[in-house]
Amino acid sequence: MVRRLTTGLAMPLGSVLLAFVLGGLIVAATGGNPFSAYAALVCGGFGIGCAGGENPGLQISNTIVFVIPLITAGIAVALPFRAGLFNIGAEGQLLAGSIACTAIGIKFSSLPSPILLPMVLVGGMVGGALWAGVAGVLKATIGAHEVVTTIMMNYIAQWFLRYLIVGGPLQLAPGTSKSSPIGAGARLATLLPNDNSLIILGLPSSVFRVHTGLLIALAAAAGFAFLLWRTSLGYEIRAVGQSQKAARYAGISVRRTIIVTMLIAGGFAGLAGAIEIAGVDHNLTDKYFSDTTGFDAIAVALLGLGSAVGIVLAAILFGALHAGGSVMQADAGISGNLVFILQALILFSIAANFVGAIRQRIPGLGRPTALPPDLPPAAPMMTEAAAPPTEA
C-alpha cells in the first residue's frame, strides 16, 4: 500500500521538482539567483521566510483566493477525464458562470442574501453547465470532438463577455470596460470580519480577502470524490471512460453519460466563475479578458491525477505560484513571468512523462509507474479481439 502510494506520487512530485530545477537553470542563465528567486516565491506563496517585510498572513490569504477557483475548475477538467473526455473548455464555462452570476446579481440586486446568494451561485453553475452541455450534446449526437468544440466555446464566451461590458447591456457607463457591481446580497462574505478596527497579524482584518468560497470549493472537492467513487453515476462515468464498449454492452447509455458528465463538469467550472464574481470582484471587469484560471485548471487536474485530494494540493501549488510571482519580482528582481514558465514546465514534464522515462533508465528504481498501455484495439481486420498474451 505504502509502495503504491509512493510510486503514485512520484510522477506529480517528480514533475514539479524537475520543473523547478529547470526553472532554476533558466533563472541562473539569465543572470539571476535561483535560490533567492525561490525563497521569494515561497514567501509570496506561503508566507514563509519572508525577507522583504511581507505579511505572512496576507500572503497566505492571497494564495487561497487564487486556489479557490482552481479547485472547482480543476474538477471541471478532471471529471470529464474520468469519462474519457478532454474538457479544454473550463475557461469558457467559467466565464459563462461569471456572466450568469453577474447578470443575476445585478438584475435582482435588491434581494436579501439568503435568497440572492444561492441564486447567483446556482445561476453560475447553470450557465457553465449549459456552456459545456453544448459540447456534450454535440459529442454524443454527431460525434463532434469535444476538444475542438470546447475550445471554440471558449472563444465565444470570451468575446461575448467583451461585448457585454464594452458597449453591451452590462456596461457600467460609456467608456468603461466593466459591469455595474452585483447587489450586496449576492456577495460571498470574507472569512474574517470586514472590520478595520480588528487587527490580525498587524493588519486590519478587512485587507484579508480570503472568502467563504473556500468552504464551497472544499465541499465541491468532497462532492466530486463522492460522485466519482460512491455513486452509480460516478461508476458509469468511470466505466464509460475506461471502456465504452463494455459500458455499452452492460446497458449503460454512453451518450447520456457523456452529456451528463459535461453538464456536471460545466457546473463546477461555472461555480468557479460565480465564486470569483461573488467572492472577489463583485463585477465583470476587463481582468476577465485575460483570465487563465480555466486553462491552469487543466494543469491542476493533470498534476492532481484527477483525484479530489490531488486537485486540492495541485491547486494550492498553482495558487501559491500565482501569489508568489509578484513577491519574487519585487524581492528578488526576477520577472514574475518565471511563474508562467514554471507552470508550463510542470505541465510539459507531466505530458512527456519525463519522470517515468528517467525511472526506466536508472536501474534499481524499478519500472515506471505508468503501466504500458493496453494493447491497442486489434487491427480492424481481425475477427477476434481476444486477450493479448496474458503471460508475463
Partner: protein, 523 residues
C-alpha cells in the same frame, strides 16, 4: 557435441523473473531439426515468455540458447531473424489496407529505385515461395478482404520470405475454422517436408496430438514433461498441464426441456459494417435445455447474440421471451427481464479491465436497488458481499476482490463474467464463446456452471467456434449459415455432416430449406 547435431533449437536453464512472477524457471527446451514440436501449457505457464526469449523480444535472466548446435546471443528479433527464426504471432501483424504482396515484403521491399515498391519482383518472389510450399495466395489481393485463414497464410509466407528455417507459431488455430485448421496442418506438414522446423504453441490437445512429433509441457514456469506424441494421449497431457486429473468430457444428464423460453422468428439485423448479417433466423429455445449454435465464424452468430441481449438493434423479425415481445428492448431492460449475456469478447466488451473484481461484478447493475440507494448512491457493503460470494462460489483465483481484472488470468477473467451473469439466476443465459482462450481447468469449471444453470431450469443458448464444445455441451445443435439457422441436429451428429451444413452444403431435412445462393463469405 555430436548429440546436439540434430537439434535446431536448444535452450538450457532459461530463467526469467518478472515482477511477482517467475515466468521461466530453469527451463530446458529442445527441438529437433525437421520436426513439429508442440509447446503446451495453460495460460501463464510460461510458453509465450519462452518463445519471446527465443525470438529476442524478452531477455532471459540466465540460461543459454543454441541454434543448430552453436551458442548464440539473441538481442532482438533482428538477431533471431538473422538466425533463421521466424514467428507467426497469435494476433497478426498485418496492414489491412496493403496488398498481400506489400504485407509480405514489408520492411524488405524489392526496389528498383528509392522508395519504390517493385510489384513484379515482389510477385515473382512470392510466387516462388507459394509454389515451393503449396501456399496458394494472390499477391495483389487486399489483405483486409481475405478470410482469417489466408491472412495467417500470408503471415507464414512473410516469415518464410525473411528466410526462416525455424517457425514459431503462437496459438495458430485460435482464430481458424475447422477447415482452415486442416488446411494449415497440411501446410505445416509440407513445410516440414521441405526441411523447416516448427514450434507449435497450443492448448488444444486434439490438435497437438494430430500435428506434432514431440511435445513439451509447461506448468507454472517449469517444464513438467517431454512426451513423444505417438506414445501419449489427451488425458496424460491434460493432467501434466493442470497438475491434477481433469475431466475432458462434459458430465451431464439428459435434458428435461420445459416450455418455450425464447421464440425467435425471422430475425434480421445488420453487422457493424451495416450490411445484413442476420437474414431471417428462426428457432425456439426451451427452459432446461442447452441449444448450441454451430457455424463458421462470421455467419451471423455474434449479431444474433447481440440482438437477443439488446446490444444490437434488429432490423426485422420478432423475439418473444416467454410470450412477451422483447425485440426492441435495450440491454438493461432485458437483464431485468431475466436475460443474462456472456459476450464473446471478454476483454473488449465483457469487462472493464481497469476496474476491480468488485466493480466488474455489478457492471450494468449499478443502479439496481440491490447495489444502490435510490439508483444513485452505491451500496458498497452489498457490492463487497456480492463480489466475495461470487469469488467463493465461482472459484475465482485472486488475492482480493479489489484486484483489477486486468491482472487476472484469462480463465479467471472469464469466471468473473460467468459469475456475474449466472449469479443472478437468469431465466435465459446467452453464452457467446464462453471458454475462448481459457485454460483447461477453467473450461471444465465453466462448462459445469453452464450445465448447472440448465439443470436449474434456465434456457441456455450457446455459441462457440469450437465444434467440440458445441457438440459436448448442447442438447440440440442449431447450424447457422449466412445469417440463418439452416438445420437443427442432435448433438451426436457426425462432425462431417455438421461441417458440411456449416459451409452451406448438405440437405437440411428438419427445416426443409436450403441456404441462400452462393454469395460467398462476407468480409
Amino acid at each position: 557435441m555430436n548429440e546436439q547435431a540434430g537439434l535446431a533449437v536448444e535452450m538450457r536453464g532459461i530463467t526469467k523473473q518478472f515482477p511477482g512472477v517467475l515466468a521461466n524457471n530453469e527451463v530446458d527446451f529442445s527441438v529437433r531439426r525437421g520436426e513439429i514440436h508442440a509447446l503446451v501449457g495453460e495460460n501463464g505457464a510460461g510458453k509465450s515468455t519462452l518463445m519471446n526469449i527465443l525470438y529476442g523480444l524478452v531477455h532471459p535472466d540466465s540460461g543459454e540458447i543454441l541454434i543448430n548446435g552453436k551458442t548464440v546471443q539473441i538481442a532482438g528479433p533482428r538477431d533471431a531473424i538473422g538466425l533463421g527464426i521466424g514467428m507467426v504471432h497469435q494476433h497478426f501483424m498485418l496492414i489491412p489496407v496493403f496488398s498481400v504482396g506489400e504485407n509480405i515484403m514489408l520492411g524488405r521491399e524489392p526496389a528498383t529505385g528509392p522508395d519504390f515498391y517493385d510489384r513484379a519482383r515482389a510477385r515473382k518472389a512470392i510466387a516462388e515461395l507459394t509454389k515451393r510450399y503449396g501456399l496458394a495466395l494472390d499477391p495483389d489481393a487486399r489483405m483486409g478482404d481475405l478470410p482469417v485463414g489466408l491472412q495467417q497464410r500470408a503471415e507464414i509466407v512473410k516469415v518464410l520470405y525473411r528466410g526462416a528455417d525455424i517457425l514459431i507459431l503462437d496459438e495458430p488455430t485460435g482464430v481458424l475454422t475447422p477447415q482452415e485448421s486442416k488446411d494449415l496442418f497440411a501446410v505445416l506438414r509440407d513445410l516440414v517436408k521441405g526441411g523447416k522446423t516448427i514450434i507449435f504453441i497450443s492448448h488444444k490437445l486434439k490438435e497437438v496430438l494430430e500435428i506434432s512429433d514431440r511435445i513439451t509441457v509447461m506448468r507454472r514456469g517449469k517444464v513438467v514433461g517431454h512426451l513423444i506424441t505417438k506414445d501419449t494421449n489427451e488425458e496424460e497431457i491434460a493432467t501434466l498441464m493442470v497438475g491434477r486429473a481433469v475431466l475432458l468430457r462434459v458430465d451431464k444428464s439428459p435434458a428435461k426441456p420445459g416450455g418455450v423460453a425464447l421464440a425467435v422468428e425471422n430475425l434480421t439485423a445488420n453487422s457493424d459494417q451495416s450490411v445484413p448479417a442476420l437474414k431471417g433466423a428462426s428457432f425456439e429455445l426451451r427452459y432446461g435445455e442447452i441449444l448450441g449454435i454451430a457455424g463458421v465464424e462470421g455467419n451471423g452468430q455474434s449479431e444474433l447474440m447481440e440482438v437477443l441481449a439488446g446490444t444490437r438493434r434488429a432490423t426485422g423479425g420478432q423475439v418473444l421471451l416467454a410470450g412477451r415481445d422483447i425485440t426492441t428492448m435495450d440491454a438493461n431492460t432485458e437483464r431485468d427481464a431475466g436475460v443474462a449475456f456472456i459476450p464473446e469478447d471478454r476483454r473488449g466488451t465483457g469487462l472493464v479491465l481497469s476496474f476491480s473484481i468488485a466493480e466488474n461484478s455489478i457492471l450494468g447493475r449499478e443502479r439496481t436497488p440491490t447495489f444502490s440507494w435510490r439508483h444513485f448512491v452505491l451500496n458498497l457493503i452489498a457490492i463487497r458481499n456480492w463480489a466475495l460470494k461470487l469469488v467463493k462460489e465461482f472459484d475465482i483465483r485472486t488475492p482480493s476482490i479489489e484486484v483489477a481484472v486486468r491482472n487476472l488470468s484469462g480463465g479467471n477473467q472469464q469466471k468473473v463474467i460467468v459469475a456475474r451473469e449466472i449469479g443472478t439466476n437468469p431465466k435465459v443465459l446467452l453464452a457467446a464463446q464462453p471458454t475462448r482462450g481459457v485454460d483447461i481447468g477453467a473450461i471444465e469449471f465453466i462448462h459445469r456452471q453452464i450445465v448447472r444453470e440448465r439443470d436449474n431450469g434456465a434456457a441456455v443458448l450457446l455459441v462457440s467456434a469450437e465444434l467440440d464444445e458445441v457438440r459436448s455441451l448442447s442438447d440440440r445443435v442449431a447450424v447457422m449459415y449466412e445469417g440463418r439457422i439452416v438445420s437443427i441436429e442432435p448433438p451426436d451428429t457426425p462432425e462431417e455432416r455438421l461441417g458440411l451444413l456449416m459451409t452451406g452444403g448438405g440437405s437440411s431435412p428438419s427445416m426443409g430449406r436450403r441456404p441462400a445462393g452462393p454469395e460467398g463469405l462476407e468480409a
